[in-house]
């Protein structure tokens, strides 16, 4: 394989990952402003810290090639993959317990899951 071509392919792959990842981060940030309440904004933040962050990391991995740095980037990705949803869940659970109702809630099955432990404000 021609090393110049390999370099070119790597740069193109990185550019695609950065552009798509950066696009998702931009859309997620816009969502944080446009969406109406805590509950829907959590989902916008979810886009940023899952697909946005992971795509940026993947883009960097194309640049570092088969080295120790790539392994470290992969580990960062793995940790984000596990800590991201944990933090998201913590925020969602806190707003649930605080009794912040989603804007125009269409269907509420809280009592079917929690029974008597459902916070007063969250009962249907």
């Amino acid at each position: 394989m021609d090393p110049v071509l390999v370099d070119l392919a790597r740069n193109i792959a990185t550019a695609i990952a950065f552009i798509v990842g950066g696009g998702f981060i931009l859309v997620g940030s816009l969502g944080l402003i446009r969406l109406p309440d805590v509950w829907s904004r959590i989902h916008a933040a979810g886009i940023i810290d899952t697909i946005g962050a992971e795509l940026i990391l993947i883009g960097m991995m194309f640049q570092t090639g088969l080295t120790q740095t790539t392994l470290k980037l992969a580990l960062i990705g793995l940790f984000l993959f596990i800590t991201g949803p944990t933090a998201t869940h913590a925020v969602a659970n806190a707003s649930f317990i605080a009794g912040i109702r989603p804007d125009r809630l269409k269907r509420n099955e809280s009592e079917a899951v929690l029974g008597e432990d459902t916070p007063e404000e969250m009962k249907a």
Binding site: G28, G31, R34, H89
Partner: protein, 157 residues
């Protein structure tokens, strides 16, 4: 014993990956510190299915790559909602049955639901999760069933 050995191997692999040193003295010191950590974990009775999940199948990375595809699809769907001129939401809190057998299986399932944009696990009860969904499509029951089946395939050997 298997758990202790598994933790030792994993810790030493992590040490190697992060240090990148291959000198005999440093390797020995690194190995000793890993051994000490395993000893401490054992004293703290941490060597269980939660800290050393050796019971998971090795096909877990395959599950993650499938999950990556799902994350991309739902991130695309949520992005379209955010960018639409009139944001049309139908927020709902729905009950999702979790048919899994182990604690680790429940955690993987709940975390996977949270990872896919459009759905967030809010609260857990025995065998059930309370899930907040942004739209009717995100709350579709068949998507959760598919995910639960795939988690069940990796949770125990």
């Amino acid at each position: 014993m298997t758990k202790a050995l598994g933790l030792l191997v994993a810790l030493f692999a992590l040490w190697l990956a992060l240090s990148g040193y291959f000198k005999a003295f440093l390797l020995a010191v690194g190995f000793l510190s890993c051994l000490f950590t395993v000893f401490l974990a054992r004293r703290m009775k941490l060597l269980d299915d939660e800290a050393v999940p050796l019971q998971l199948r090795l096909t877990l990375p395959l599950y993650w790559s499938w999950l990556g595809g799902e994350i991309f699809k739902s991130a695309w769907a949520v992005s379209k909602i955010i960018l639409s001129r009139n944001i049309a939401l139908s927020q709902q809190l729905i009950a999702v049955e979790s048919p899994l057998k182990t604690d680790m299986g429940h955690v993987i399932f709940a975390n996977s639901i949270t990872l896919t944009p459009g759905t967030v696990t809010v609260e857990a009860a025995p065998g059930k999760f309370l899930v907040h969904a942004l739209t009717d499509e995100a709350a579709g029951a068949e998507a959760f069933g598919e995910m639960a089946r795939r988690v069940a395939a990796v949770e125990t050997r």
